[in-house]
Amino acid sequence: MAVCIAVIAKENYPLYIRSTPSENELKFHYMVHTSLDVVDEKISAMGKALVDQRELYLGLLYPTEDYKVYGYVTNSKVKFVMVVDSSNTALRDNEIRSMFRKLHNSYTDVMCNPFYNPGDRIQSRAFDNMVTSMMIQVC
């Protein structure tokens, strides 16, 4: 159950960022921003290998005392960053992966929409709904 989900474009500006409103959203924004460095680090680490071989799921980027940050990058260098509550220990890696996969699929749907210009903010309702479902999942 994510507390914050962000979609970052290739140029490292956010296309979509949403967090549970109860928390201080700025904090999450900052966490996402700092996680971008970690993402870039991980990407460049395997950069020598073929892009194809690089796995999309980056795994745990870095943990804080309250939260864990997971990353996922697509082949087009669009990054998904997810912040989850550390107290939610039941959340396994597989689940995180599946959440990222869902994100990826929804993102693809958004991309398929001819009225969506890549680089715009994501305003698709379907995407919103999907993210909402992920964020209010019962842990």
């Binding site: 999309l56 697509t74 996969r101 869902k102 990826h104 699929n105 993102y107 693809t108 749907d109 991309m111 398929c112 929409n113 001819p114 009225f115 969506y116 305003q123 698709s124 309702r125 379907a126």
Partner: protein, 770 residues
């Protein structure tokens, strides 16, 4: 202001009117403009209206609160009944009829007679139905509730372009909600009255074309800005009326047509929504219009409109991009970035509805859901084999989120059959589940008729099949296959796997003539010539060779057999030597049948007989080599007759190694299938040079058969020949070994591809339910 007591009917009526005026859904204050219009509709003199307003306190307050509104209505009734306007009269006048608001203009918009024939409820329900489920704004099509619309009106849209045009721009009298309420509680005459009231209520709006500006303004406040109205506001432009009239015919101007269409379709929508149950249903006229529009973009009704074309088309409607984006999301059912006819109609319908003020639904209404496409009809059937492969490829490919499309049903069974026919039971991952079908359909769309998708697991299957077939049938091929034979045999592979058997037999028939004992067995039948692997095998080339040539060509092609040393005694080595073209392994001699045929060896046509006959010879040791060689041969260029020859010779070499005297046999002893081939080849080889020595050969062959281990080869001068042949065989050996390894590698790659595709499929499948 005294308290106001209202009867039930009055209460209802007033609240409805209030809701109507309450455009901003404040539930507290009604818009003055609306109220004024209402009062005007009451056909009261202006001073009376002013008086009423003053009395009810609106002028004092400056706005119409609910109570003021009610009081005003009551006063209207009072005034209409002829009573003097007094504040007291609101309560004192008994049995006051409900205020009547007369519509000066009757028609609102054309309505089909049927829907409005008698049922005011229809009308009410129509208005209710007209309003899409989320009546976010109290905007309802004005025209929907024209009281006068009760009378069936001929589809006079074209005669009155203005009215239908205007109607969308004016909010309906009340929210659909209230209208429905009205209809549900038709309390006798009162029930009629409320309807009657609001009915004529609205007609004034109809003629207030100029008022439409106000309506527009009001509406615009809630709906897309004026630019949209340009699209729909036919009233503004006289030409639009002409356009409307020529609606059926006008096609040149896309936008014009669209405006015209929108008007008519808007009318149709309203008309249609009168069915109450389904405000989103598309009428036939609308559908026809949509289809025509579809054709202008995509002539093939079964084809797709690409996203970019659709974007341009719908952008002309001047809806905001966000809304168009949402419409697209709703209507692109299978999320493939292209619109089928059904999807296009749904999208168009939504656009029209939106233009006319309907809120977009959150989910696609059922009536707009695209029908599942029947693949049989579409030309995409061919794509299906390639589709499954793609399902995995775009990891982003939206999994089949939408309901299954039966589109791929047909293709799946076909594949099943083909695979079954070959009697090779592969665990073909063919599923008839909707998700699979959907994905297949998606792939169909995505990949177009790309039957040659090499990544398709379906495609992978045939290679697997073919591999097996190859192996099974390969044995048959090597027998005396010349290059031509190789081609011919490869032909069999090109055909459906089920024909492999027959083709193999065909090949066998002339395999005997092939001097190339080791004619590379044609590679497994690869259905997709574009397959990277298959191309490397050059089987495409081989396939190009006509089968017809097999018979004659085979005979003609066999490379000249090097002079065979007197192999008679040592059928093995000598036989091997002449492996080239005539590399027929004559040491089929083991088979008695071949022996008698040996005299006929020279006549290649006899090889067919040989082909049938061989098989008796078997040398286990060579059994394994044969398949290898066969495989290698299959993969190799059919032109590599030399290789074939070498193979043969190699095989023969091997046999020689195992049983020097059993060259001829050596080839055959391999797996039974190759045996015949081998034998044929060998027999050819042996027969050729041993035409004169066939007797010896037979003897040798027999001896070979009997005692494979050692057969005294030719002595003396034969030694050199033998050594030469040994060398040649070794060369052939290495070449074939190389071929073998290459083929093995290719096989592994293909299998890996297949596995990866299957994994991808697995990954995607779960998301079909997301």
């Amino acid at each position: 202001m005294e308290g106001l007591t209202l009867s039930d009917a009055e209460q209802k009526y007033y609240s409805d009117l209030f809701s109507y005026c309450d455009i901003e859904s404040t539930k507290k204050v009604v818009v003055n403009g609306r109220v004024l219009e209402l009062f005007r509709a009451a056909q009261l003199p202006n001073d009376v209206v002013l008086q009423i307003m003053e009395l009810c306190g609106a002028t004092r307050l400056g706005y119409f609160g609910r109570s003021q509104f009610y009081i005003a209505l009551k006063l209207v009734a009072v005034a209409q009944s002829g009573f003097p306007l007094r504040v007291e009269s609101i309560n004192t006048v008994k049995d006051l009829p409900l205020p009547r608001f007369v519509a000066s203009k009757n028609e609102q918009e054309p309505r089909p007679a049927a829907s409005y024939s008698s049922d005011s409820e229809n009308q009410g329900s129509y208005s209710g139905g007209v309003i899409p489920p989320p009546p976010g704004r109290g905007q309802v099509k004005k025209g929907s509730v024209s009281h006068d619309a009760v009378q069936p009106r001929p589809s006079a849209d074209q005669q009155e372009p203005a009215s239908p045009v205007v109607s969308p721009q004016q909010s309906p009298p009340t929210s659909p909600h209230t209208w429905r309420k009205h209809n549900r509680h038709p309390s006798g005459g009162n029930g009629e009255r409320p309807l009657a009231g609001p009915g004529p209520f609205w007609s004034p709006f109809a003629d207030s074309q100029s008022g439409s500006a106000a309506g527009d303004a009001v509406w615009a406040g809630h709906s897309p800005p004026p630019p949209q109205e340009n699209w729909v506001s036919f009233a503004d432009t006289p030409p639009t009326s002409t356009l409307l009239s020529m609606h059926p015919a006008s096609v040149q101007d896309q936008t014009t047509v669209r405006t015209v269409a929108s008007a008519t379709t808007a009318n149709e929508i309203r008309r249609q929504s009168s069915s109450y149950d389904d405000p989103w249903k598309i009428t036939d006229e609308q559908r026809q219009y949509y289809v025509n529009q579809f054709k202008t973009i995509q002539p093939d009704l079964n084809g797709f409109i690409p996203g970019s074309a659709a974007k341009e088309f719908f952008t002309k409607s001047k809806l905001p991009i966000l809304e168009l984006s949402h419409i697209w999301e709703l209507s692109d059912f299978d999320k493939d970035g292209a619109l089928t006819l059904d999807e296009f109609c749904a999208a168009f319908h939504l656009v029209v509805a939106r233009k006319n003020g309907y809120d977009l639904p959150e989910k696609l209404p059922e009536s707009l859901m695209p029908k599942l496409i029947d693949l049989e009809d579409s030309a995409d059937v061919g794509d299906q084999p390639g589709e499954v492969g793609y399902s995995g490829s775009p990891a982003e490919a939206p999994p089949s989120k939408s309901p299954s499309m039966p589109s791929l049903n047909q293709t799946w069974p076909e594949l099943n059959q083909s695979s079954e026919d070959t009697a090779i039971v592969h665990p073909v991952p063919i599923r008839m589940t909707p998700s699979k079908i959907h994905m297949q359909e998606m792939e169909l769309k995505r990949t177009g008729s790309d039957l040659t998708n090499p990544t398709s697991p379906l495609l992978v299957k045939p290679p697997d099949l073919s591999e097996e077939n190859k192996i099974n049938s390969s044995v048959k091929f090597p027998s005396g296959n010349t290059v031509a034979d190789g081609y011919s045999s490869s032909d069999s592979f090109t055909s459906d796997p089920e024909q492999i058997g027959s083709s193999v037999t065909r090949q066998r028939s002339h395999s005997g003539t092939s001097p190339d004992n080791t004619a590379p067995p044609p590679p497994p039948p690869r259905p997709q010539p574009s397959h990277s692997r298959s191309s490397s095998l050059d089987m495409n080339r081989t396939f190009a060779v006509t089968t017809g040539q097999q018979q004659a060509g085979v005979v003609a092609h066999p490379p000249a057999v090097p002079p065979r040393p007197q192999p008679s005694q040592a059928p093995g080595p000598s036989v091997h030597r002449p492996v080239d073209a005539d590399g027929l392994i004559t040491h089929t001699s083991t088979s008695p049948q071949q022996i008698p045929e040996q005299p006929n060896f020279a006549d290649f046509s006899q090889f067919e007989v040989f082909a049938a006959s061989n098989v008796t010879e078997e040398q286990d040791g060579d059994a394994e080599k044969h398949p290898e060689v066969l495989l290698v041969e299959k993969a190799s260029d059919p032109a590599s007759s030399l290789r074939v020859a070498k193979t043969d010779s190699k095989i023969e070499d091997k046999t020689a190694a195992s049983a020097p005297a059993n060259m001829s046999k050596g080839t055959t002893p391999l797996a039974p299938p190759p045996k015949p081939v081998r034998r044929r080849l060998k027999s050819e080889d042996e027969l050729r040079p041993d035409v004169d020595e066939h007797t010896q050969k037979t003897g040798v062959l027999a001896a070979v058969l009997a005692s494979q281990p050692s057969i005294p080869r030719s002595v003396g001068k034969d030694k050199k020949a033998i050594q030469a042949s040994i060398r040649r065989n070794k060369e052939t050996n290495t070449v074939l070994a190389r071929l073998n390894s290459e083929l093995q590698q290719q096989l592994k790659d293909v299998l890996e591809e297949r596995i990866s595709l299957e994994v991808q499929l697995e990954q995607l499948r779960p998301f079909s339910h997301l």
